[in-house]
């Protein structure tokens, strides 16, 4: 085990851990907004795929990464809007409609990929930007301040989301709608509008999460390239107790352990690879059981709102 605790290995674990956490952060912070307003969106994975595809396709055709990113956000917005129409206006069962949305995103992104691209191609994605001064700090500069734009964005999103949820009127309304929509409604809060906003915002962020894969971390699109990351993101929201900082903690824990297990294998430590691959999941489950009591689930989560009921 000693060979794991050398400087290059630790640097490597932190560096890859931060990169791995990026898509989870976007998707899980977006999902936090939706869930705090009372909507469970299980379609995150499908939205990520649509974002990844749209972003990649536009970036490839226009050779402009920012346009691609914008396209991914737009695709995410449309998917979020679809989820909002189905789950908020039509009041469909949220769990089922989310799974439906996920399958829709998986199918549509695969179809579009085949019709428009046909095969796997790669592009030159967002390149690392070394932040002046901070990037010069030995070791820490390499780990924290030499990443691409989307990685910085994901980590900046955490305090911003925390501020919006806890310190703004909008955030107060979101929390009120998720806790007790009837009471919020009598106080003049437009429950439907708030839920539409959060679900669409969640969609946009999930779209960007997908783009962070196809435009910054892997720089290509392949069908089903998220392979279930969206569901991990939903789990991270529960893990983080519906708080952005908690989500950050969960995303980092999961990603660091994932980076660690790869190093365990590279260093030839004698653990079967199947066990190594399981490590992040096992640790997440253990952490979940201990964090369960602190979790503050929004009271109205998964409950559609009907004015005048109750």
């Amino acid at each position: 085990m000693a060979e794991l605790f050398t400087l290059p290995v630790l640097l490597g674990i932190f560096y890859s851990g931060i990169r791995l956490a990026t898509p989870y952060l976007y998707a899980a912070i977006g999902e936090t907004f939706a869930q705090r307003s009372g909507v469970l969106n299980l379609g995150v994975d499908g939205i990520m795929l649509m974002g990844a595809y749209t972003g990649f396709y536009i970036a490839m055709k226009t050779e402009n990464l920012l346009l691609g990113l914008l396209g991914a956000a737009a695709a995410g917005f449309l998917m979020g809007l679809l989820m909002a129409v189905v789950s908020v206006s039509l009041q469909a069962e949220q769990g089922i409609s989310g799974i439906g949305l996920n399958l829709f995103g998986l199918g549509l992104s695969t179809l579009l990929f085949k019709v428009t691209l046909g095969g796997v191609e790669s592009i030159r994605g967002f390149q690392p930007i070394r932040i002046p001064l901070l990037g010069q700090i030995p070791y820490l500069g390499d780990i924290f301040f030499n990443h691409n734009l989307l990685v910085y964005g994901a980590f900046l999103l955490v305090p911003i989301a925390n501020f919006i949820l806890n310190k703004t009127t909008f955030g107060l309304k979101v929390r009120a709608v998720g806790q007790n929509p009837q009471a919020a409604d009598t106080l003049g809060v437009n429950v439907t509008l708030i839920r539409y906003t959060t679900v669409c915002l969640g969609g946009i962020l999930a779209g960007i999460a997908g783009a962070s894969l196809s435009l910054a971390l892997i720089n290509l699109f392949q069908e089903n390239m998220t392979s279930g990351m969206g569901f991990i993101a939903v789990a991270l929201v529960y893990f983080g107790g519906w708080r952005p900082w908690g989500v950050l903690g969960g995303a980092l824990l999961f990603s660091f352990v994932n980076a660690l297990q790869l190093w365990v294998q590279v260093k030839g430590i004698n653990i079967p690879s199947d066990i190594a691959v399981m490590m992040p999941y096992i640790l997440t489950i253990i952490a979940l059981t201990f964090s369960g009591r602190r979790a503050r689930q929004p009271q109205a989560l998964t409950k559609p709102f009907e004015r005048g009921e109750n």
Binding site: P8, V9, L11, G12, Y15, S16, R19, L20, P23, L82, V85, V86, S89, L90, Q91, F104, L108, T110, L111, K114, G118, G119, V120, E121, S122, L213, L217, I218, N219, L220, Q222, E223, N224, M225, T226, S227, M229, N258, A259, L262, W263, Q265, V266, K267, G268, S273, D274, A276, V277, M278
Partner: protein, 342 residues
């Protein structure tokens, strides 16, 4: 009441929108046929453009189709993206009941399902791989099996990688430690160690054939650990090739040519050519033999090919050594899982 009307209207609008978005161009109609064509159906885990396992087989099918005189003489039906085994099993059963002459389950994960389906359709020929088990021991006589001896190409690529490496470290990005991937990885490690005994070969598995993201992280980890030559197997390696390209490492491919992802990154590839297997199966089925034979792809029978990428220069002495290794494997003096025989 008004609410219900609004809801129905919204639903109708939504469904029509989705339907129009999903509308696909109509499938081309089959030309009128005089004689009955040979009909093949194949069920594949990934897509026919995966640059790996599924594409290698589909391209071979298309080649045989051309030889046979086109779609009117040789009909191909396929279902791709069947990572989910129960779905694949349903598709296999469907094709069999539609009267296809040969139904192929292209994935070792489909074996158990196939052994349950095949006895229900004794008039239909089935095939599956990669495996060497035709289920004859279970009394089933209408199943062919096929396997690529991936360790052969793995051994050769390992030899080239070890000789080309400047850091003395190689990285192997494996998917699941089983089947074709295991053969390839074991061959690669054996080849590298025999070419250069002091070479360090680090091996990782992601536990998935499709997790592109984790595969990319695996490649990153290998490069951070000093590897300058990487290899790997399955359709998820595109993520790893992307990383290799970004960081200036080289890649050795298997199953199908992966140069489109890294035109200046992929050094050489072991390409599977399944045409010999398909040709022989078609011939046997026409002669009334519906199964019972296991095929292998080897360098010797031409099923495995080593393909260099012109854009990445490989020194002539290393190419010569690679050819010598292939010859050794073909004439049996080298065992691709352990090394030269004494």
């Amino acid at each position: 009441m008004k609410k219900i009307v609004v809801r129905i209207a919204l639903l109708v609008a939504l469904v029509s929108l989705l339907l129009s978005a999903c509308a696909q161009p109509a499938a081309p109609t089959q030309p009128a046929q005089e004689e009955k064509p040979f009909r093949v159906a194949v069920v594949m885990p990934s897509t026919i453009t995966d640059l790996a396992f599924s594409q290698s087989f589909f391209e071979a099918l298309k080649k045989v189709q051309e030889e046979e005189g086109g779609p009117s003489k040789f009909e191909i039906a396929y279902s791709e993206g069947m990572f989910n085994v129960p779905d694949a099993a349903a598709a296999i059963r469907d094709y069999a009941s539609q009267g296809y002459d040969l139904v192929i389950a292209h994935g070792s994960q489909y074996g158990t399902s196939l052994s349950q389906i095949a006895p229900d359709f004794p008039e239909t020929a089935f095939a599956w791989g990669t495996s060497l088990d035709t289920f004859q021991a279970q009394g089933i006589n209408n199943v062919y099996a096929y396997q690529a001896e991936s360790q052969e190409g793995g051994y050769v690529l390992g030899t080239i990688a070890a000789l080309m490496s400047k850091t003395g470290v190689l990285g192997v990005c494996g998917p699941v430690n089983a089947g074709d991937a295991k053969l390839f990885v074991d061959g690669f490690v054996a080849g590298a160690k025999n070419a250069k005994p002091d070479i360090q070969v680090n091996v990782t598995f992601t536990g998935s054939f499709s997790d592109v993201s984790l595969m990319a992280s695996a490649a990153e980890t290998h490069i951070a650990a000093g590897a300058d030559m990487l290899t790997g197997s399955s359709q998820s390696v595109v993520g790893a090739i992307g990383v290799a390209k970004d960081k200036g490492a080289y890649w050795f491919g298997t199953q199908w040519e992966q140069t489109p992802v890294g035109p200046e990154t992929v050094v050489a590839t072991q390409v599977f050519d399944w045409t010999i297997v398909i040709r022989d199966m078609v011939k046997s089925v026409r002669a009334g033999v519906l199964g019972g034979k296991a095929y292998t792809l080897t360098f010797k029978n031409g099923g495995l090919k080593l393909v260099y990428n012109d854009k990445v220069p490989v020194p002539d002495d290393i190419k010569a050594k690679a050819q010598e290794t292939i010859d050794g494997i073909m004439n049996g003096t080298i065992d691709p899982l352990s090394g030269p025989k004494q």
